[in-house]
């Protein structure tokens, strides 16, 4: 379903992604693990047409996202690391906008919107503005939206960041269910090793833009002679702490939050 060969992305002198290769089978849940700044999000951005690779080849369900952008985009849904909802619109309006952009027929759109909002326990709040939602509700809405156009692949970039254990648990249960009922291939990144261990069929560990290990959770543990996936992860990537540079987006979000509190 997804195949990546020798993918490279340079930002000036920095090699964010440095010769990554992997394949994900149809219907599989594949976890992409790595410390901050390892190249996870950059890889997802290249897979989802937001960034052009410096070199290398990507295939999504037989399509190249660099040359056939629009067709490739129809194949996947994505939940980004940071929010991408319009908070001035209601939950229903966000779903409607997504459905229309993806060319989902009106009848199917309404049916699936209802089904997904009920599944993610947002149906009662469908006419509330997204700005009144909690962090967990926004995440659930984003995932529900990602499923609306029945994608073949769902990308989840740290979908449980900042959620409480209840919400995380519930979220993965839904994702697993939809993986089984709709056969969607899931490509996820997370910092929670227990989640990856529980949800993913196969994993890859990326560090400094290179894949350092891939296989099932069992294989990774055997390879590193460790007891848990967390230990295996630390054995593979070392225990030094990586700091990411705060981008302008982060700064602006802080500023906006400040304003909101003052009001």
């Amino acid at each position: 379903m997804i195949s990546v060969e020798n993918l490279v992305k340079n930002f000036g002198d920095v090699k964010a992604v440095d010769g990554v290769s992997f394949t994900v089978q149809a219907g599989e849940i594949f976890a992409f693990l790595g410390p901050n700044g390892a190249g996870k999000t950059t890889t997802i951005k290249m897979l989802t047409t937001l960034l052009k690779p410096t070199s290398g080849k990507i295939t999504l369900d037989g399509l190249d996202p660099v040359t056939s952008q629009t067709e490739a985009r129809r194949k996947f849904g994505i939940v980004f690391q940071d929010p991408s909802l319009d908070s001035e619109l209601t939950a229903l309006e966000n779903m409607e906008l997504h459905g229309v952009l993806y060319g989902v027929q009106r009848k199917i759109r309404l049916e699936r919107t209802e089904m997904l909002l009920k599944l993610f326990e947002l149906w009662e709040r469908r006419s509330s503005y997204v700005k009144t939602f909690s962090g967990g509700m926004k995440r659930r809405l984003e995932i529900a939206r990602g499923f609306l156009h029945t994608p073949k692949i769902l990308f989840l970039d740290e979908p449980t960041l900042g959620l409480d254990p209840q919400s995380r648990n519930q979220l993965w249960t839904h994702v697993k269910n939809l993986n089984q009922t709709e056969g969607v291939t899931v490509f996820l990144t997370t910092h929670y090793m227990d989640e990856a261990d529980r949800v993913a069929h196969r994993l890859a560990v990326i560090d400094h833009g290179r894949i350092v290990a891939q296989g099932t959770s069992q294989e990774l543990k055997e390879q590193t002679k460790t007891e848990s996936l967390e230990e295996a992860f630390l054995a593979l990537t070392g225990s030094s702490i990586r700091d990411e540079k705060a981008g302008s987006a982060e700064q602006l979000r802080q500023m906006a939050n400040m304003w909101r509190k003052n009001r």
């Binding site: 951005k45 989802t48 047409t49 937001l50 960034l51 052009k52 629009t70 067709e71 985009r73 129809r74 996947f76 994505i78 980004f80 940071d82 929010p83 991408s84 909802l85 319009d86 908070s87 001035e88 619109l89 309006e93 409607e96 906008l97 997504h98 229309v100 952009l101 993806y102 060319g103 302008s248 987006a249 700064q251 602006l252 979000r253 500023m255 906006a256």
Partner: protein, 248 residues
């Protein structure tokens, strides 16, 4: 086509829901209209140019359309910072569709704002020479709105954060406004200034509005419409090109 419509609708919904913003954006034009309109009135009258309120009202409408459409276009920057832009960029529609939808939304909002200010002008005592020429005034308002929405989108596509915003305001938007003849007549100007006003697309928008509303204009209406249409296409193309190059 549906994609253009839904993105256009989004801009309108967001506009309708921000009462504070609507009121705030009407305050500045009202200052210009009332303070300058009545403050400079006597001087203008003595110079033999008639009522300044009559003269400045179309300029203030043009100014409102300029500011409103540039800001809506730059609103792209907020979409970028708050993430919604990504949702539209991964959608399976050509970038140009997204850009057109947003620009038309911005232009519609700007035209509505311009209309509101025109109503305020009427309340303040402004009277158009003939009501029949009102549709022509709307043609100029809409063309102006499209031009500067395109420009706003072009700027919004290039800017990475709000720091560049002040720069754009002071070095681009304010000069466009002051050089347009919104506040003063364009005849008998020094040569350099006269040339600069002719290069400013807003001059043709304001002049067209003035022609339609008070029957006094520098350029022929047809000339103004042609210039505005050409510039609109150019700016939309520029905005579309820059928007299509956005990488996140």
């Amino acid at each position: 086509m549906n994609a253009v419509y839904i993105l256009w609708l989004r801009e309108l919904k967001r506009y309708r829901r921000s009462y504070a913003q609507i009121i705030a954006s009407l305050a500045q034009p009202m200052l210009y209209l009332l303070v300058l309109g009545f403050g400079l009135g006597p001087v203008f009258q003595k110079a033999g140019n008639g009522s300044y309120l009559q003269f400045v009202a179309p300029g203030v409408v043009g100014m409102t359309v300029l500011f409103s459409s540039v800001f809506s276009g730059i609103g792209l920057l907020w979409d970028r910072q708050f993430g919604f832009l990504k949702e539209t960029l991964v959608a399976p529609v050509p970038r140009i569709t997204v850009m057109i939808g947003k620009s038309l939304g911005a232009a519609t909002v700007a035209t509505i704002q311009g209309t509101l200010v025109l109503i305020v002008c009427l309340i303040a005592g402004f009277r158009p020479v003939s009501w029949a020429s009102l549709p022509l005034a709307f043609v100029f308002m809409i063309l102006t709105a499209i031009i500067f929405s395109g420009l706003g989108m072009a700027i919004g596509s290039v800017l990475q954060d709000m720091q560049g915003f002040q720069l754009i305001m002071n070095f681009l938007v304010m000069p466009i406004f002051f050089l347009s003849g919104a506040l003063f007549p364009l005849n008998d100007l020094p040569k350099v200034l006269s040339l600069m006003t002719r290069l400013d697309p807003l001059s043709y928008g304001v002049d067209g509005l003035r022609g339609a509303l008070i029957g006094a204009s520098q350029f022929e209406a047809v000339t103004s419409i042609s210039v505005l249409s050409v510039v609109a296409v150019l700016f939309l193309a520029l905005g579309g090109y820059l928007f299509s190059r956005i990488q996140l």
